[in-house]
């Protein structure tokens, strides 16, 4: 008996992919050069050749549960050697974006953040929210005197907004990821050969060292930029956690006076020790933002330089790179303006923009490009559980 396989192409999905930047995908003629030149593609069921034909046929269901598209680090060795200019590397980047959107919970947030055309909507939410909170608490205005950011936007208001929303965002992210995990692991016909935790640990180690990223041939520079952004983000996350710790546990408030009696008591009355802690804290904050800034600039520089051979990337990626850079820039500028006694309106304005962008990065994490760090971690972990990952 002849076996019959019926495909139901999702034409709308194909159109969406092409509109989002994967306009080259139809050029692919399935020669499989890409699967061979990719340094990260496993021998068994390699990518990205099969993803290219799935995308051409609009097999959305298959692609949404693909772990392989997350193994791709967009080296674009494939795009360099592709004989048709089908740019598999870029197509996979768009597919990853679609998967983030597809698994987003709630779905409409995926649409708002996922489509760069909706950027104004996405920014309007924090702007309106902030103005409402400030107006209701009677803080809407430019405070007199020296620039102290907490006078303009009291820290506990910020926390009032960010802490519950971040927690909500984490829950949403968890729902999105569990959707993704279910999609990815069900119906693959493959049984895991290794446990979740060891695979996760191995994955995290790999991510910390960027071992996969450094296997890229075609645009090695990107791994340097990514390392900077990556550790910049981690540093700033620690900074934020420490700031919360200082405020709520130590009750030590900005600008962190070294003669605060409660704090002095903790450090055995040594002003020098408190001073050192303060300096270390400030150093971490500034070093992290410098890394983020430098990394962000490099990311954009690489993207511009690579326009020929390597990645063209979607506006989704561009948007995020831009926002990361602006967060770093506005944060840094706000501080400079404060210290250098710029007009209050400028300093507070920059600070406000900074907060809006921070909102974008933190609260929209499950839906933006940043979501990739969880999706990728989860997908690589699953791949390692299946033992189909390449040797690094």
């Amino acid at each position: 008996m002849a076996q019959e396989t019926v495909f139901t192409p999702d034409i709308k999905f194909v159109r969406e992919l092409k509109k989002a930047g994967a306009d080259t995908l139809k050029k692919c003629y399935q020669c499989a050069t890409c699967s061979v030149v990719c340094p990260l593609s496993p021998d068994d069921k390699p990518f990205p050749r099969k993803e290219m034909v799935m995308a051409q046929w609009g097999l959305k269901d298959e692609l949404v549960k693909s772990a392989d598209i997350w193994l791709c680090h967009n080296c674009n060795d494939c795009s360099k050697y592709c004989p048709r200019g089908a740019r598999p590397g870029d197509v996979l980047a768009i597919l990853r974006k679609s998967v983030i959107q597809e698994n987003a919970f709630p779905r409409f947030m995926g649409k708002i953040v996922g489509d760069p055309a909706n950027i104004w909507q996405a920014l309007a939410i924090p702007v309106v929210l902030f103005i409402v909170v400030l107006a209701m608490s009677g803080h809407l205005g430019i405070p007199e005197g020296n620039v102290v950011f907490s006078k303009f936007f009291p820290v506990h208001f910020i926390d009032m907004i960010f802490v519950p929303l971040s927690m909500l965002s984490v829950v949403m992210f968890a729902v999105s990821i569990s959707r993704f995990w279910k999609n990815m692991t069900s119906g693959t016909g493959m049984t895991p050969k290794a446990g979740f935790m060891p695979s996760l640990v191995e994955t995290l180690k790999e991510i910390m060292t960027h071992a996969k990223f450094r296997k890229c041939d075609e645009n090695k520079d990107r791994s340097v930029a990514h390392v900077l952004v990556f550790y910049g983000f981690i540093g700033l996350a620690i900074t934020t956690a420490l700031a919360v710790f200082n405020l709520y546990i130590l009750k030590w408030e900005s600008p962190y006076p070294v003669d605060d009696p409660d704090v002095l008591a903790i450090f055995g009355g040594s002003t020098a020790l408190v001073w050192i802690v303060k300096i270390l804290f400030k150093l971490l904050a500034n070093a992290s933002s410098v890394m983020l800034l430098t990394g962000g600039v490099l990311v954009i520089k690489n993207r511009l330089k690579e326009r020929g051979v390597e990645t063209l990337t979607s506006s989704f990626d561009w948007l995020f790179a831009g926002i990361v850079l602006l967060v770093g820039l506005t944060g840094f500028l706000a501080q400079v303006m404060r210290v250098a006694h710029f007009p209050a309106v400028m300093a507070y304005g920059t600070y406000f923009i900074h907060l809006v962008l921070v909102f974008y990065i933190i609260i929209y994490m499950p839906y933006s490009k940043l979501a990739h760090f969880v999706y990728r971690t989860v997908a690589i972990t699953w791949t390692k559980m299946l033992k189909r990952d390449v040797e690094i």
Binding site: A32, Y81, P83
Partner: protein, 413 residues
């Protein structure tokens, strides 16, 4: 008064065909070839389609038609320096490069025996050497030796002159210019194999056992560098496992952005060369699509039926060398089976495509793919592979057609 002569540029199978066909209808033809022999790429083949006979059966017949027809003038070692004028009256200047051997040559080989200098044999793609005094190939037309003065390091050496009993060698020969008027011109300038070294992932030029399909024809040929034995270049060991790499540069926007039309059939044919001579040899053909148009499909089916020939859909995109053995490690994805294949082979044959040999000529108009569409002015035509990548049969049919076109041009003007 308009000229009643047709100039044919290029003395391969297409140019010969146009020249002979037009002359046999009664028109004067001038056949110009830059090599010191006629026959072009066909002369380098071991066998050719459709009948899989050695090239000489077709070429010899044509050489005979040339020899017996006083209306054909042949210039070898000759290049076209300039063309001007219009249909019916083109002024042409030819540069005839010295052969250093005149028509008294009997091809006795005494000069080559006496010659102390060797040169890479370009007819065999550098896989062996000839003396500086040499016969281009066993059935050269004209059957006359040549002296490669670029290879004579010692320009005062006259050992060949002394060895020649017929006074056939004249080392003082100078280039000469020939001017003529012709009514129409046919460009049959053919092709060059695409430079395989430009595909940095396939290792040609770095790994000795990666060869091109044209080199394979020479290896298979009884008058080739190995006398027809399939000895791989690194250690002259007979091959047991060969992989054919299809579309090596063709259908690739980074190289030749078109199908070269002949490489699929060439590799299928070459697979049979190996299988006919080495009973236990194994052959893999890795392809994107196999193109066997028309009757060639029967040939494809015949090759497919051989249990020792495996065809895999998937392009070879990486070749590495095991430095200790000289073996090659080829990597490709089996698209139908779904998995990467790492294949060890004695030798890899790159099915390199056809690159137009004339790229820049103010008189000609070119297709987007670099092949010659025809003249910018009336009365100039192109034929054979100079016009489009094609096999011998198609080239000959086209060349016959162009004989008629060029005659019509003469009659018209």
């Amino acid at each position: 008064m308009s000229a009643k002569t047709i100039l044919i540029v290029g003395g391969g199978i297409s140019g010969i065909t146009t020249a002979v066909e037009a002359a046999e209808v009664g028109y004067h033809t001038v056949l110009v070839e830059k090599n010191p022999y006629l026959g072009g790429r066909v002369a380098q083949l071991n066998k050719y389609f459709p009948k899989l006979c050695p090239p000489y059966c077709g070429l010899e017949m044509n050489f005979r038609r040339i020899k017996t027809n006083p209306k054909i003038t042949v210039y070898t070692s000759t290049e076209v320096e300039s063309v001007s004028g219009q249909e019916g009256n083109y002024s042409v200047r030819l540069k005839v490069n010295p052969r250093y051997v005149n028509e008294k040559c009997t091809s006795c080989n005494a000069c080559a025996e006496a010659c102390p200098v060797e040169r890479p044999n370009e007819f065999n793609f550098g896989m062996d050497k000839t003396k500086a005094a040499y016969l281009p190939h066993v059935l050269s037309y004209p059957m006359r030796y040549v002296i490669d003065r670029n290879a004579c390091k010692d320009q005062s050496c006259d050992k060949c002159v002394k060895a020649c009993a017929y006074n056939a060698i004249d080392l003082g020969m100078k280039p000469r210019t020939v001017e003529m008027h012709v009514g129409s011109i046919v460009y049959a300038t053919g092709w060059n194999p695409y430079d395989a070294a430009r595909m940095d992932n396939l290792g040609y030029g770095r790994f000795r056992n990666v060869i091109t399909n044209m080199m394979m024809e020479r290896l298979a040929s009884p008058n080739g560098p190995t006398g027809g034995k399939f000895l791989r270049p690194s250690d002259n060991r007979e091959v047991k496992k060969v992989v054919f790499v299809q579309c090596a540069g063709s259908r690739d926007e980074n190289h030749l952005n078109y199908c070269s039309a002949i490489c699929c059939m060439a590799s299928l044919k070459q697979a049979t060369y190996i299988r006919e001579r080495i009973p236990d040899a194994k052959v893999t053909i890795a392809y994107i699509d196999l193109r066997a148009p028309g009757k060639y499909e029967e040939f494809l089916e015949k090759v497919k039926a051989d249990a020792n020939i495996r065809m895999v859909k998937g392009k070879v995109a990486k070749i590495e060398e095991d430095a200790a053995t000289g073996d090659l490690l080829l990597e490709f994805e089996d698209v139908e089976g779904g998995g990467k294949i790492h294949e060890r082979a004695d030798m890899a044959v790159l099915a390199t495509g056809m690159d137009s040999s004339v790229k820049d000529n103010a008189m000609l108009s070119f297709e987007e793919n670099g092949f010659i569409n025809g003249g910018k002015a009336a009365g100039i035509y192109s034929t054979g592979v100079a016009k489009r990548p094609s096999d011998v049969t198609t080239s000959i049919q086209d060349a016959t057609g162009m004989a008629l076109k060029s005659i019509q041009s003469l009659v018209r003007s």
